[in-house]
Structure formats: C-alpha cells, structure tokens
Symmetry: C2
Subunit: 349 residues, 2 copies
C-alpha cells in the first residue's frame, strides 16, 4: 500500500539535520574557540592524569576528537574509544593519526545506539550539554551508553549537572524588539507590537549574554542531575523550585537560565572541577537563555519572586522540550496581591 | 497512479520559504533599521514630490508599507497600490490606517503574478535587490509587473542597477576560517584545512564588510541594467568584464561584489539619486559579498587583474544562480606567466 505522498515520513529525532550540522566545521570551530569549555575538559584530564593510567575511556560525540587527544597526550590510558556519528569522524581519524595518537585512540563512526566496543570502559566522558542544559537531548545517548558500556563503579564526566535561573532585566533586548516598533521615519509602527511580542517573546532567546548587573536577585539552582543515577525516563519531566529575594529596583523583563556541570575526581579526595556557563563566568559558546515575560514588571527591590520551572520533553520531537515557568511576585508592602502567572516556552517545537 | 512517496514535489521557486521569511518581523526590522536604504527611497519620494502629484504609484513587495507611506505623506499621489505576498500584508493594512493613509494607499495581499489593479500606474517603485543585486530574483516579478501595469512612458524606481567588483584582501576572514585550523591546544589540526576550504570558500560569503583599505584596486562596474528595457530572458545569463590595476602590495584573497541602484528624476532635468551599497559608503543590511580564491596570491602592486564575471541563473531553482569568475594576473615583470583561472560559486544551489 503506497503511503500518502503529501505526508512526509519525518524522523522525530531529526537525526539527519542534527548530525548533518555536526558534520560542518562551523560548529566545531565554535566549540573549539570556546576556551572555558575546552579548557575545563583539558583540566579534568590533566588533574586526573595519574588515575587515568591504564584505564579505558569512552568519549561520546567526540567531534574533532579534542577530548580523546587530551587523554592520549596528557595521561596514559590503556585505550580511548572516540565515538562520533557525524561525517566529521572521518577527519577525526586523520587528526588522531597526525597527532600520533592512533595507538591509544580508536575512532568509531557510528551512532551510540549502534556501537560495538571491544570492552567496557572505566570512564565515560562527553560534552553533551545544550541550551538550558538538555536541549537536543544528546544526554539520552550518554545515559544509554553508560548503562551499556560503563563498568560497575566507573566514572561519568560530567558527573553532575545543574540548571540555574535568575529573574532579570533585558532592557536592550526589549528596546530592539518592542520599543523599535514605535516611531520610525516619522510614522507610527505600534500596530506591529503585538506581532513583535509573538515573534520575539514566545520562544526562549538563545545566545543571550546576561550582564551581571541585570540580575535582579542571586541566581538559584533549580534542577540538579546526578549523571550516575539519572534515568532516561526522568528526562520526560524535570521540575524545579525557586525563591528569589529581589535585591534592587529594576525592570523585571524575564528569567535567564544557564547550567553548570561538575567533574568529580577519580581520587575520592581530589577536588571536583566545574564548568559554569553563567553570567558571572567567562562567556561560553552556549551563552545564556532568556525567557521574556509578555510585559515587563517594574520592581522596587525587596519583593520575593517565587515559583517553579518545568522542563517537559516533547513526546513526539525527541530533541525538543517546552519550558514552563510559573511565578508570583509578593511585596512586603502588598502581601495580599500575589497573582500566579504562567508562561510556556516551546524549545523549539 | 500514486507518486513516489520518497520524492517530494519541491517548488523550484521555494515560495513558501521565501514569503514565509518575509512574514517575520526580524527581516523587516533589519530593512527598516537600514538607514541608507530607507532614506534613499524617502529622498526619492521627497525630491520627486511635485511630479508625483496626481500620479498612480505601485509599490511592489511593499513589506510593512514604508515606501507607500512615504508617498502618501510626502507627496500627493492620486493612489498608491501597495502589493505584498507575505502575511505581513495584513498588518500593513493596519499600519496604513493608523497613519491615516487609507484614502491613498490600498494594500493588495497577493503575489505579483495574481495581481489585479483598478488601473495602470505612472510609477513602479520597488526594493527588490538582493545579494549581488539579483539573488532571490524578485526582479523577475518587478519586470513582469512593469510589462503588465506600467503606463507607456512610466517610471521605474530604481531606474538602473549596477553590479560592482573589486579584487581584495580578506585577511581576518582567511585567519578565522583557514589559519584557525593550525595549532589548537597544542595539537595539529591542519588535517581539517581542505575541509575548511570546501566549507568556507566554495560559496560566496554574504554579509561581508569590506574595509576600503582591503581593496587592492579601484572597483569596476561589471554589469549595468536599465530597468525600463531589461527583459526577463536577459536574466538567464549576465556577463561582465573587468580590468583592475593593482594599486598596492597585498594578499589577493578574492573578489568582493556589491551593487548600486539609480533613481532617475521624474523631471528630466532633475538629478538622479543613487543608493550605493559598496565599501566606500555607509554599510547597508546587504553589506557586501565575498568570493574567496582557493589560495591567496601575494601581489606586489602594479599587476593587472583582468577577466570576466558570469551570473548564470539556476535553470531549476529559480531564485538561485551560480557566479563564475575568470581572471588572470599579469605583471609588468613577468608578462609571459599569465595563467587564466576560473572559479564557480553556487549561490545558493
Ligand atoms: Ca554540545
Ligand atoms: Ca530586498
């Protein structure tokens, strides 16, 4: 029976698009240019180098192989299995050879699900994080690989991950998306403002660089994930709570989110390293993610903004999720008037 | 007979994508923020205002209607027909009303080809220019509308268009695309340079901002179009010649292209206005378009770079073209050694 020609068979994982992008150098250049990210992994390898001796490491989604090469160059692992599904993998093999690491590093060009390794591994290292930590859900492949390939008592890098949130000002973004549509060349363009709100505020804004002075409160850790115990089914719905004490007067334009990841030391007494993609650290290629309210709320300082955030994975489009933020503002002046607001942000479908 | 479900029926004009984009505010904001572009049209209306009195004007692809509103506010035309195919048109109607121009300006939400107007027009104004002047080939709709709706002896704005070219340096682009893949974190990444050449140099680079000091010669007008006599069939292949006298020593990384458009005055004695999107003028949202050679050539100054440029419209994908540049470098020192080189740049397919 012929299928309906008008109805495309679309892949809910959109793998062709996803891995297609990672076959281009543009993305790899962006990741390699990101010093805080790349140096964090380099430091993890370097710091753990004594304990990596003779160990088997898996580098999932290795890209150009930078982490695998760090392992081979900065430590003496027995073997590194570098796994990459996109077409960059062919070039990664050349890079491994040209850097004299072919004795230690083996590149497997396949999807994690199709992987067949010669042995289990002691360490599973991966740079799987996306916008708001989870976007694109590469983490699912990491968890499946952990369950299939990581030895009992093995290590995950990152070993933990945290989603952070802060209520914030976003004055210049508000100006360029909303105030823009006022007077232009002597004409009244305000008729387009409802359209602007729809277009610019209904989805999160990726690549937002939050200025520390635009934070209206001390950021809050809203979700904590332990990479050794996290289950794939946990990813369907992740919930977090927040209570922010507003520290200064300002315009409450929205919330900004980012993440931190932790790298536990192989030596139980060693220090845990951390990569922080927030506004108080050097910017990374993830920058931060901005969630705009429909209308800004002036705050005088002293209010409490409390509520919760829900990351709800799209049941069809498996790389997407919707983030719902529920919040209320209570002021000491007017403790009665404390309306609960909700806004849902598809990311991306 | 059912069609092959694997073979999508794709629109060679990609109208859904094309008009879909113009339904978003992001693009309109970019165009309205472009002062040199918008002010050029405003000046044309203002300068011609005495002769626009009682005239009928058609504004093709009016977008938010800015040019039509300029006509209604700055002159006294009998009528302005504002034509827009994308969904922004519904909002354009509101803008026209809110600016009190509904007596003069009528918005037609349809494609140029489906247009039915109450009368012919005295002036056809349109902002149809794309990258390298022709990309996206909106100009075809303009020419068809001219043949169908412009009165005998009517005016086209722009009335003429010129494609410009210059041999240039592009040191920082070369550094970030090619030199980037050398030493990274103490590792050798040169294996990726052939891939980088493919990815970054095989298509033109849009939105390049050419610095005047990176021009190696005086720019050349390579193609001139007269908008009153130009035929749709002329667009299939447009050819231009160039001879550049290299004025200084530098690295010849490629060619940069841009355009100028002219606006003839309705008064035969009036001055022609011009919008110049080149490196010696204030940058516009088009910026310039860079064509990288596969390998840079060091020049000492005094050489001649001569050749030709061919804009070949894609016979299938009607909004696309391939630009082929053929050139040779002859030096007074070594007049014998004058090899002809050719490179073709798909734009976009
Ligand atoms: Ca990533
Ligand atoms: Ca245009």
């Amino acid at each position: 029976q012929p299928s309906d020609p008008g109805k495309e068979e679309e892949d809910p994982w959109q793998d062709e698009e996803y891995f297609g992008n990672y076959g281009t150098l543009r993305l790899h250049r962006e990741m390699l240019s990101d010093r805080p990210r790349t140096e964090a992994y380099r430091q993890v390898i370097l710091t753990n180098s004594p304990h990596l001796r003779g160990k088997v490491v898996m580098d999932l989604g290795c890209g150009t192989g930078i982490i695998s090469l760090f392992c081979a160059r900065l430590a003496q692992p027995k073997a590194v299995f570098a796994v990459e599904a996109s077409s960059i993998a062919e070039h990664t093999k050349t890079l491994v050879r040209q850097n004299g690491c072919e004795e230690v590093v083996t590149v497997f060009q396949c999807r994690a699900e199709e992987l067949s390794l010669p042995s289990r591994v002691d360490v599973l290292v991966s740079e799987w994080m996306g916008n708001c930590l989870l976007f694109e859900f590469m983490v699912e492949s990491v968890l499946q690989s952990r369950d299939r390939w990581l030895k009992e008592g093995g290590m995950m890098w990152p070993s933990g991950a945290t989603v952070c949130l802060v209520p914030c000002q976003a004055g210049s973004y508000y100006a360029e998306t909303m105030c823009f549509w006022e007077q232009l060349y002597g004409l009244d363009f305000t008729a387009l403002q409802p359209l602007a709100q729809m277009e610019f505020f209904s989805r999160p804004r990726f690549s937002h660089l939050l200025q520390p002075e635009d934070c209206l409160a001390t950021p809050c850790d809203v979700i904590n994930l332990d990479m050794l115990s996290l289950q794939v089914t946990d990813l369907e719905e992740l919930n977090g709570q927040f209570i922010f004490a507003v520290e200064k007067a300002g315009m409450f334009h929205g919330f900004t989110s980012w993440f931190r990841v932790q790298f536990q030391n192989l030596d139980r007494d060693g220090t845990t390293l951390e990569l922080d993609t927030g506004p108080y650290s050097e910017p990374t290629h993830w920058k931060q993610t901005l969630f705009m309210l429909d209308h800004p709320v002036p705050l005088v300082g002293g209010e409490t903004v409390s509520g919760n955030i829900l990351l709800h994975r799209n049941p069809v489009w498996r790389r997407h999720m919707t983030i719902t933020i529920q919040w209320s503002i209570s002021s000491t002046e007017d403790a009665e008037n404390c309306q609960v607001q909700t806004k849902s942000f598809p990311m991306w479908r």
